[in-house]
Amino acid sequence: MPFMTRNAIVVDLDRCIGCFSCEVACKQENNIALGEYWNKVVIEGPFGTFPDIEQYWLPTMCQQCENAFCVNVCPTGASYRDPETNIVLVDKEKCIGCKYCMMACPYGVRGWNYEEKVVEKCTLCRQRTSIGEQPVCVAGCPGEARFYGDLDDPASAPARALAAADPASIHQLPDKGNRPATQYILSEKIATWRSGD
């Protein structure tokens, strides 16, 4: 069934300064406990031999996979795709805590809420986007490196960012048939992409 929208985040790693603001803002906005994450900045590197070394920062979160394994395996339908926004979400009231979705996620970007004993993940700040605002990680990014919107809408910020980028600089996390929607822009002049297959 064709989706009406393909809401996701595009991160321009050429602009990312590794300040961790997105990670902190996410925790604050979504009340994420210490040691738990919905969005985590991973340092990739340093690679190479001095002085030819390179490093980049990789903000990781739910990749809003088009073929979401987490949704496919969830035994209760707690992990589901919102029919209106096409965003993969978790209905915590239905979660039985089997962690099957966490096993099925290729990237380990689902969190475990130790207090409520349920699975959680990035909702693309549904509480904000449902009223027309940007996800807090996007709104708070000092480098303006994050873009949120419908990838299929050429006028959206992420679509424009991708259109402006060199196709060779557009990357995704390893695709195991899940087709991650989230995309990263990283130019060779900054660093070699090392987060793929």
Partner: protein
């Protein structure tokens, strides 16, 4: 990943129960089961293993109170496992009642064939749920095959012990011995095939491999062979083989959890 003991024990016990019933069905279809006690104990033990395994599996859920939601969302995994546990259990009960009520031979044989098929499917499904692209070392048909076959020695051993306890003689015990020897070989082959695929044969898993092969394969096969030569001791050999088989099967499953790493684990959450 961390070893998920609830699921290790669930797949071990339920798998052994499935193979026990398969072995019993084989013996009953061949007309080897002569005593009512054997039928009663085999059916009861199958149900105990399936139900105990299922109860243990529920202990890994943080909200088992919401488990009924599974019925409203059929997917591969918990739903299919529960479905086949349920269907196999029903098949066992229906067959037992039919046999007690002296149903026709054709009806009983049909029920035995259906029960045996369901038991094997259950043992397959116990492993099939873990095949997932996110965990490359699990994403192989060798995984459900190993889940299926590594419980076979436990089931064969339980059948042999139950048949001996039921005062069966001759072909009934011989079948148990042969199944036990054969299942020992199947455990070794299936475990090693998966080990070769996953690259877990080398490294620091030697203890688990030793337990898998010695307890899950060699000991049951040797005890099965011994029982063939000494049918009078089949109960002891069968019971000992059952314990060894469960230890070997458990060790193999522990290893599966240890090697089941994801493509990436960016949040570092240990499941």
């Amino acid at each position: 990943m961390e070893i998920q003991w609830s699921l290790v024990l669930f797949t071990t016990l339920a798998g052994a129960g499935a193979w026990l019933y398969f072995a019993f069905c084989l013996a009953a279809l061949k007309g080897y089961v002569k005593n009512e006690r054997t039928r009663l104990v085999a059916c009861a033990a199958t149900l105990v293993l399936l139900i105990a395994g299922s109860i243990i599996s529920a202990t890994h859920l943080s909200h088992p109170d919401r488990i009924m939601a599974v019925l409203g969302h059929p997917t591969m995994g918990i739903f299919t496992e529960a479905l086949f546990v349920g269907l196999t259990s029903v098949a066992v009960v229906v067959y037992f009642l039919a046999a007690r009520r002296k149903a026709s031979e054709g009806a009983q044989k049909t029920l035995l064939v259906v029960g045996a098929a369901l038991a094997v499917l259950l043992a397959v499904m116990l492993g099939y749920s873990y095949m997932m692209p996110a965990r490359p070392t699990w994403d192989t048909p060798l995984l459900p095959l190993a889940y299926l076959l590594t419980t076979s020695s436990g089931g064969a051993a339980a059948y042999l012990a139950i048949a001996a306890a039921g005062k069966e003689e001759g072909e009934a015990l011989k079948l148990g011995s042969v199944l036990l020897v054969a299942s020992g070989a199947l455990v070794a082959v299936s475990a090693l095939a998966y080990g070769a695929f996953s690259g877990s044969l080398s490294g620091d898993l030697a203890l688990f491999w030793a337990a898998t092969l010695l307890c899950g394969a060699v000991a049951p096969a040797a005890l099965g062979y011994a029982a063939k030569g000494k049918p009078s001791q089949a109960l002891v050999f069968g019971a000992a083989a059952f314990v060894f088989a469960l230890v070997g099967c458990t060790a193999f499953r522990c290893m599966l959890w240890i090697v089941g790493t994801a493509v990436r684990n960016y949040f570092g959450v240990i499941i």
